[in-house]
């Protein structure tokens, strides 16, 4: 290795360590080492696999959120879309239609919900946070009122292949993890190799400039929210398959904050315009280690929530210290 290249590597390493991503990486490694030393059952192949599997669903959801956040948006309606579309699909399947048809209907519902949200944001010019906050409430209310009444919707009987998604293994690796990995690869290719990905980054960096440059911001926004809704639906299927049921109460849980936790901790700034799939993976693993460690330590669920909240808050504080906003350049109405 030449000296210049070594220096370049060193510079890259030091800049990585100074960035939030680097800090989280170090924290993740530290937590991993700490838990491995302190918790005897932590460092075992079975537990590591279980860890990755348990956070895979979170990771899949975070992929959808990451796409939206990179384009300077946010989607807090993902959980609502997930539970309502999957529950509805199960209800349809149970009422006599084939599971494949039912799943297609569910997918169509998710995509149209995402597109409507996108239209509201792109054409209605409503701030994404308010649009998705309200849309989550509407989607959930709609589902509970018209599509299904029971909170728990079991997987319809007689669909053996469906349970493979959540419970099967390929070469010893859980299918859930394989799906997460494949989705990571797909999103990585989309973001780094396609016009769609490049334009997403451009929109996140500077929406006004992107529009002037000729990017069709509005159709792009609609597409991004449709994709995130579809990913939410996919995550819902994986979740339902591994638990043999889907619980609509998830909408009221803190799951959406867990997704944000993954994205923000991984280092995808909420300002938009930067962040990669590897940030999602990093965030997912860190949150996974955290949750798994706390579960093994038998910490109560409520205290886990508190810890997650504090960690997320610290991550945001660090994010704002690393990328400070100043009075002259901050934008009006930038929440």
């Amino acid at each position: 290795m030449s000296e210049a290249a070594a220096q370049g590597n060193q510079a890259r390493l030091s800049s990585l360590l100074n960035s939030q991503e680097g800090i989280v990486l170090v924290l993740a490694v530290l937590a991993f080492v700490l838990f491995s030393l302190l918790l005897p059952s932590f460092f075992s192949p079975g537990n590591i696999l279980a860890l990755i599997r348990s956070v895979s669903i979170l990771g899949i959801l975070a992929l959808g959120m990451a796409l939206v956040v990179i384009a300077r948006g946010i989607d807090v309606s993902m959980i609502a879309t997930m539970v309502v579309s999957v529950s509805w699909a199960f209800v349809i399947a149970r009422s006599g239609y084939s599971l494949e048809f039912a799943l297609l209907v569910g997918a169509l519902f998710a995509v149209s919900a995402g597109m409507l949200i996108g239209v509201l944001i792109a054409f209605g010019e409503v701030a994404p946070i308010f649009a998705t906050l309200a849309a989550g409430s509407v989607i959930y209310g709609l589902g509970r009122t018209f599509f299904f009444t029971l909170e728990m919707q079991n997987v319809p009987p007689g669909a053996g292949w469906f349970s493979l998604i959540g419970q099967g293994r390929i070469l010893g690796v859980p299918v859930t993890v394989v799906i997460f990995a494949m989705l990571c690869l797909a999103l990585h290719l989309v973001l780094s190799r396609t016009w769609f990905g490049w334009q997403t980054y451009a929109m996140g960096n500077n929406p006004g400039a992107a529009r002037i440059t000729g990017i069709s911001n509005r159709p792009m926004i609609v597409a991004q929210y449709a994709i995130s809704a579809l990913i939410a639906y996919g995550a819902g299927l994986v979740l339902a398959s591994s638990a043999s049921a889907i619980n609509a109460r998830l909408f009221n849980s803190t799951m959406i904050y867990d997704i944000l936790l993954v994205v923000v901790l991984g280092g995808i700034g909420l300002n938009g315009g930067h962040g990669k799939v590897r940030n999602v993976i990093l965030g997912t693993i860190f949150v996974g280690i955290l949750l798994n460690g706390m579960t093994i330590m038998n910490i109560a669920y409520t205290i886990q929530n508190l810890v997650k909240g504090v960690v997320l808050l610290l991550a945001i504080v660090i994010d704002s210290l690393v990328n400070p906003r100043d009075e002259q350049t901050s934008q009006q109405g930038d929440l």
Partner: protein
């Protein structure tokens, strides 16, 4: 043809088109739609819910409004500062817990419990405030995270104390009074809420902290550059939010005496819906206590009505979400398009028919000549916008400039000039009082007095408000010219009440009587409007009888006479109409005549356009302002009219190079001095055969 014109005239006289634009300029228009929605919702509820108007129901509603409304106030303050507080629901739960633990478990006195509750709210709010105000975190994500944290704290503490809270009941009359008492039929908690709401309203709309808050929310950067402590203001907004939420929690605890695992869950969405529905703009800076209260009542009526109709909770959630989407959508579109809509509809043309004009023939007195072509120029390039010119008894020449000063050119050759006084606005009409004070109408400001040593004092800047005018017409917008009656009363014209100084020419497109004649009486210090509905009243001059005055109505191309004193007091008649151009200032001349400055000549095209209001409306709506058809205000002339209104002389600049644009004249010792509102020069020409000793001072006030 005649019938259709008569119909057109009738339509424009009867339909007040301008009201729409004027209503849009009012700041209270933001509140009208939520208020209407509230009325409609109440009526619908009375209609579909049986027994809605019972005392029990209304009392219950009032108690809920006081708790919910306080949280809405909290959120309003934060949104006004340009942020958002999603943690109100969890803060509320924590504060309820603090109140109940103090009262039920620890058995503390009510005062101490209140302090404990407020301290809890303060701590929660302060954390938000420090994070968002001082560390500059994003409000949305930060309060979302504190929502989780506060909720987790509640979930950790509440199960351990739940049985203790339920197990004992505090014995405290004050506590019961707050929870269940009433005051002249009103629930005590509602009275508390009303007092707090009025207090917050006063702070937000009348006191400095409120103004700073709005400034920070409306234009953060400008507020920072103006020296407002932005970080502190934002931080205090969240602290206020915490405190108000704590008070709400205190009232809630006193009313219910217990709490459940789901206290405060989803509260942020319903409060947010209420606030946005009430008309508080999410962009920050726009909104009021009234908005928050209207929105809270609306949302509570909606949710309680749905409960009474025994709808499941999911319907409630669905409807709240839909309402929130509609409100946010309306807010986004309204804020974005209100200004656009206003600029499209504000110009409101009306029908104005001018008499036919026969063009002057070769021998006519109005025939074009070149008498101004040889005018001597004073201060070429040194003055900007000398609307009016006037000379004092020592022959010095005074004029106002666009820079907000009155400039004095020194006799005898007017080569040297000095700034006589600094006013701050563009001085238009000028006139000397008998004691040597110079009085001036200042565009956008009012009537001012300048003493001979250059001291400026305000004479008046407002008149009586007319009862039915939508826009506030008490403030003087465009006082134009003035003159002084023998008894010292000042009569002045206000050209238009609908446009500012910078866009005075747009008033020409309306052709409506937007102007008025106003009188200021220095003996009583009062200012009263004498005549209103005048079409751009401009020049004013007192007639030699001392009982009447002449004033020009520019776009109507006429001069009218008004008797303010004597046997004909109050009479108003046309002195001379169908002028060949748009009359501006009027001034006395020698030999009992009057000088009329025409700022531009009429054209057949524009006369036709004045009879086609629909055309002018389409023009103002559809094309950019710099492409509009305006009257000719570039080339005019000077007319001399006799005491009876006959035109006896006309002075033109045939080549249009030396002094074509004229807005005022002043005859002084055989010379005629000329001003023009957009000129860079003052002109003067010798008047053949004029009395070389005649001055306006002598004509008005007698020889010195």
């Amino acid at each position: 043809m005649a019938t259709s014109e008569a119909l057109l005239r009738l339509r424009y006289r009867l339909l007040p088109d301008r009201l729409f634009g004027e209503l849009l300029t009012k700041s209270w228009i933001d509140n009208v739609i939520p208020a209407l929605a509230l009325v409609v919702t109440i009526l619908v509820m009375i209609w579909i819910v049986p027994g809605y108007l019972t005392v029990a129901n209304l009392t219950d509603l009032a108690r809920q409004v006081s708790e919910f409304g306080l949280i809405a106030l909290a959120l309003t303050i934060v949104i006004l500062s340009g942020g958002i507080d999603l943690s109100v629901g969890s803060m509320f739960a924590l504060c309820v817990l603090a109140a109940l633990v103090s009262m039920n478990v620890l058995g503390l006195p009510v005062g101490v419990a209140l302090v404990a509750t407020l301290a809890t709210g303060l701590a929660c709010g302060l954390l938000n405030g420090v994070l968002i105000g001082y560390l500059r975190l994003r409000a949305f994500i930060t309060t979302l995270v504190t929502l989780v944290i506060y909720r987790a704290l509640y979930d950790i503490i509440f199960p351990r104390l739940a049985s203790a809270i339920v197990g004992s009941m505090p014995v405290s009359p004050t506590w019961d009074l707050i929870g269940f008492g009433s005051f002249y039929g009103l629930p005590v908690s509602f009275v508390i809420f009303a007092i707090i709401a009025v207090g917050v309203h006063i702070v937000l709309s009348r006191l400095r902290p409120g103004w700073r808050l709005r400034a920070v929310g409306g234009a953060r950067r400008s507020a920072y550059n103006a020296g407002i402590n932005v970080k502190l203001t934002v931080c205090l907004a969240y602290v206020a939010s915490g405190l108000l939420t704590a008070i709400a929690a205190f009232l809630f605890s006193a009313r219910l005496g217990s709490t459940g695992a789901d206290t405060g869950i989803g509260l942020e969405i319903s409060v947010l819906t209420a606030v946005v529905l009430g008309g508080v703009s999410l962009g920050g800076g726009r909104g009021s206590v009234g908005n928050a209260v209207i929105g809270s009542i609306l949302v509570l009526i909606l949710t309680s009505g749905l409960i009474r109709l025994s709808m499941p909770g999911s319907v409630n959630q669905l409807i709240l979400g839909l309402v929130l989407i509609a409100a946010v959508l309306f807010d986004a579109k309204w804020v974005k398009n209100r200004g656009k809509l206003l600029s499209k509809v504000y110009v409101s043309p009306t029908y104005l028919k001018l008499p036919n004009l026969t063009p002057p023939t070769g021998t006519d007195v109005l025939a074009v000549n070149d008498r101004l072509g040889a005018a001597e120029l004073i201060g070429l390039g040194a003055v900007e916008g000398p609307e009016d010119v006037v000379l004092d008894r020592d022959d010095n020449l005074y004029t106002g400039t666009r820079h907000g000063t009155i400039v004095r050119f020194l006799a005898p050759d007017y080569a040297r000039s000095e700034v006589f006084a600094r006013i701050g606005g563009h001085p238009l009409g000028l006139a000397f009082a008998p004691n040597g004070d110079l009085l001036t109408c200042v565009g956008g400001m009012g009537v001012y007095r300048v003493s001979p040593d250059g001291k400026v004092a305000k004479v008046t800047d407002e008149t009586n408000r007319s009862l039915l005018s939508v826009i506030d017409d008490s403030r003087l917008r465009l006082p134009d010219d003035l003159d002084i009656a023998p008894d010292g009363r000042i009569f002045f014209s206000e050209a238009t009440i609908r446009y500012e100084m910078s866009e005075w020419a747009v008033d020409a497109l309306e052709g409506r009587g937007n102007g008025r004649l106003i009188c200021h009486d220095p003996r009583t210090g009062s200012t009263r409007t004498m005549l209103r509905g005048l079409i751009f009243p401009n020049g004013v001059t007192i007639c030699r009888d001392g009982q009447s005055l002449l004033f020009a109505e520019t776009w109507a191309c006429r001069i009218s006479r008004y008797w303010f004193d004597g046997p004909d007091k109050g009479k108003h008649e046309i002195f001379r109409d169908n002028l060949p151009g748009y009359p501006d200032n009027l001034n006395r001349g020698s030999d009992g005549t009057y000088w009329v400055a025409l700022l531009g000549t009429r054209t057949k095209t524009f006369d036709l356009a004045m009879r086609k209001p629909g055309f002018r409306r389409r023009m103002a709506k559809r094309i950019a302002a710099d492409e509009w058809l305006f009257p000719n205000i570039n080339r005019g002339c000077v007319l001399r009219v006799s005491e009876t209104g006959e035109i006896v002389d006309a002075l033109w600049d045939e080549a249009g190079e030396n002094h074509p644009s004229i807005t005022s004249t002043c005859e002084h010792k055989g010379w005629l001095y000329l001003g023009g509102v957009s000129n860079n020069r003052i002109g003067r020409v010798r008047i053949a055969g004029a009395d070389p000793q005649w001055t306006a001072h002598d004509d008005y006030w007698g020889k010195r």
